[in-house]
Symmetry: C2
């Protein structure tokens, strides 16, 4: 698997059908594990990092499922960025130092980082609301690996992690949500308040920072200790997310019924600008793509497949653009090339 080959390809899993995918773009479950007998990452020498790689890499590459290994320390900076833009490694893994790697499933819906904040971080993705499937997948792989290595485990605290917020199950559950209806009807603050009440974190998705842009939100749990994995997942899957989906759907319906012209105008203008701009920032592109995605899902835009929009979320980011262009681009050049990539993707022909 060569990162350069990925720059103009879709993320294979994101456009498969999934429950409520018009609102829940994707689900993700992550597990954090550490090897018994090794210091946590902040205290590890390069040599001990190498030992961990030598233990975990063969374990990962001998699973039932074929994974591709990438030596994150050896690849170019822009390739690391590209992997992060595809959610295959974390920003921390990009910035990290020393021997570290990632094993990736061909469909890109599973990856395992070695020597990130913890010795092993595994994550599974799925389109739509499919946290249970993600959990089953990481658990299954976790079980297979645990037959080969010993993870640091405490009878009372559970799995030990470098950061105490991951202690216990070491599970982090998140969904990526698209909530333009709540935003346009002025109800998005209710979503933020509800998330806060449930002790969930809200961050931006697809952004270069963690600010929220274009009505895309990443919602994740913050508590791992004392809550069973299955409980976290069922809480998300059966209570929290369905409620948000219900509200967002109602908001979209309200928009269509109460101000169809205003909504149509917004959506069509967004499409018009995307199809015609010669310079566009990633921020503006996300805002406009959000409106077009809404348009597709509420039946106001027919000629564009939602997969084209989902793919652009990845392809418009700086590393994807630069790998695709085959050279380094300054921000002005990126704005120009980004506009070109969008025009090509959304062209009416």
């Amino acid at each position: 698997m060569n990162p350069a080959d990925l720059s103009s390809q879709p993320s294979p899993w994101i456009n498969q059908p999934g429950p409520d995918f018009e609102i829940v773009i994707s689900s993700r479950v992550r597990l954090a594990r550490n090897l018994e007998g090794y210091e946590f990452k902040p205290c590890l020498s390069a040599q001990r990092q190498n030992e961990i790689l030598e233990i975990l890499t063969p374990a990962l590459l001998s699973l039932d499922q074929k994974l591709y290994y990438i030596d994150v320390d050896k690849i170019a900076a822009v390739e690391r960025e590209l992997l992060a833009e595809r959610y295959l490694i974390s920003p921390a893994h990009v910035r990290g130092k020393g021997p570290r790697g990632v094993a990736i499933a061909e469909e890109e819906n599973f990856s395992a980082m070695i020597n990130e904040e913890d010795h092993l971080r595994m994550q599974a993705y799925a389109p739509g609301l499919q946290l249970k499937a993600c959990l089953d997948r990481v658990n299954q792989i976790d079980d297979q690996i645990e037959k080969k290595v010993r993870f640091a485990f405490h009878p009372r605290f559970g799995y030990l992690t470098a950061c105490p917020t991951n202690l216990g199950t070491g599970i982090r559950v998140s969904v990526m949500l698209h909530l333009p209806g709540l935003k346009m009807t002025g109800q998005i603050d209710k979503f933020f308040a509800a998330a806060r009440d449930c002790n969930l974190a809200v961050r931006g998705a697809f952004g270069e920072g963690s600010e929220t842009v274009g009505d895309f939100y990443q919602l994740s749990n913050q508590v791992t200790l004392g809550v069973a994995e299955a409980e976290v997942v069922s809480n998300f899957t059966e209570k929290i997310v369905p409620k948000i989906v219900e509200y967002e759907r109602a908001a979209r319906q309200t928009l269509i019924e109460q101000s169809p012209y205003v909504v149509d105008d917004k959506i069509q203008r967004a499409l018009g600008v995307l199809r015609n701009a010669r310079l566009i920032s990633s921020q503006e592109a996300l805002v406009l793509l959000s409106q077009v995605r809404l348009g597709v899902h509420i039946g106001r835009i027919f000629e564009i497949q939602v997969s084209k929009i989902n793919n652009l979320f990845f392809h418009l980011q700086p590393a994807h653009l630069q790998m695709r262009a085959g050279k380094s681009l300054d921000p002005d050049q990126r704005d120009s090339f980004r506009a070109q990539v969008i025009r090509k993707a959304l062209s009416p022909n």
Copy 2:
């Protein structure tokens, strides 16, 4: 000539070729005349207004050139507005009271208002910078009429007019300019300063008020007393307007050379919004059409004929829209119908 028939037709003269028409949209010369032995308009009774109509109408309708007469007092308010939007009558003539009319050439490049501020106001239009042709035309018609009626004339002051600012030749000369280059390069204030120095008035064109919108300006003389008609016209034609055209052309060249991407982006976005908006105000439409018109003239947009844009300047105004829709439209409905008319006119197919 029925005003209702005009609402979706182009103004016949505006799209003929004319010198410098990419910057000088049109030229206009107006003469003001009053009948000897009659009070000026503010003091005229309805009966005396009728007498003036009875003298001037046959004189106008028996000219070499065929004119169509419209009884402005009898037609619907929206029809009066439509005539004003086509520059065939003035806003004052729309608002006026009592017996009044207008005689119009079929090509709409000449009209003569009876009982406006003066008893007779004649105006000739031409595309591009053609003030001399306009002057010749109104002079020729003036001479023909003067063979049939006696105009109030003072050996020292010249032609007498209701307002002293028109005294003398009674001539008002104006050009409609499109100056997006000066605006985008930050030099438009120089144009305003130069106009002030030359004692010329600058107003908006195509607007519902006199504010300037979308880089369209109407430049006109303010002094009529003590300056010969030919001098006013040659001053405009040989000195003032060519200088403005030269600066605007240089500004456009600068834009193309120094920031082609920024200009392209602006122009193409404008076209994208115009082709996709579902609601648009007349103000926004003018701003965007200005950018598209620039794009056509600097060779960045190829698929749109400038005539389509010129026609829209007329067709997007409230009375044109309402006459075309066949019913009264509130501002929201106008914004919706205006967007529809634009989409139809600028559609890529």
